[in-house]
Symmetry: C2
């Protein structure tokens, strides 16, 4: 069974993903799952707050139950919701000061752990991979925009 | 927050993975989940059969419950188990003729669907991605072999 280059990229992409994921999980603060971490990172980047729709559009890790994750973060006083009485869908989510403090400490550690994984890969290759994966996601994006496929 | 190239590769890898996965799922035969498909593809490549240990080592999609998946495939008469009475762990799994027939039809269709996703990416870039992702998984493999990390 001769394998095409595209299928081969997909197979290797799955392999790389599965190899990095457990280490990424391990590197988030204890008690933070990767989806929780992801939600907080997105909010950290947007001090003006985000609606649920904006948030779900920007998440990396598919958050099966975003409402549940946000509820727990609110319960832990890491995220606060500001409700607009006239339009409930436009409720904005923001990190609390405690949420900001926690994620500001967690992000650099996570970044360092991930960088360390790539330490044995030549810098030039990492840079090329970055560029090519960017070009791939762009191509896939255009495809879903015009191809009528739902995502 | 300036992002290192390694972290940036990881973020784009997650994006590409999440964009391709739903299409890969959709492209396996109705009634086949991706882990089921994965198990059958592995067995299809090894007519001499595989033990559970060999199988779990070769799977791409993490099969949360490999025993359950294999049981269902046995129930559907797509996989047969050949038990060695003196050593139960060495039980070999093989596709039944019906299993071979089904997967032989499903594999080319799946491959074609995945190739189609990459159609808008220049051939040279797909080839480079293939090579660089291969080099990345090798580097990550060496890391886990020697770094004392469990996978």
């Amino acid at each position: 069974m001769k394998q095409g280059a595209g299928l081969s990229v997909w197979v290797r992409l799955i392999k790389a993903y599965n190899m990095i994921l457990p280490q990424a999980r391990r590197s988030v603060e204890p008690g933070f799952t990767l989806p929780r971490f992801d939600v907080m990172v997105q909010l950290y980047r947007r001090p003006e707050g985000m609606t649920f729709v904006e948030l779900s559009r920007n998440l990396l890790v598919s958050a099966g139950n975003l409402t549940g994750i946000v509820k727990r973060l609110e319960h832990d006083r890491l995220v606060a919701r500001e409700t607009n009485e006239s339009d409930r869908r436009s409720a904005r989510l923001r990190l609390t000061p405690e949420g900001r403090r926690r994620i500001a400490a967690a992000v650099p550690r996570h970044a360092r752990d991930i960088e360390r994984l790539f330490a044995s890969v030549p810098r030039g290759e990492v840079e090329q991979l970055r560029r090519l994966l960017g070009s791939l996601t762009h191509a896939l994006d255009r495809r879903t925009d015009t191809g009528g496929d739902t995502r």
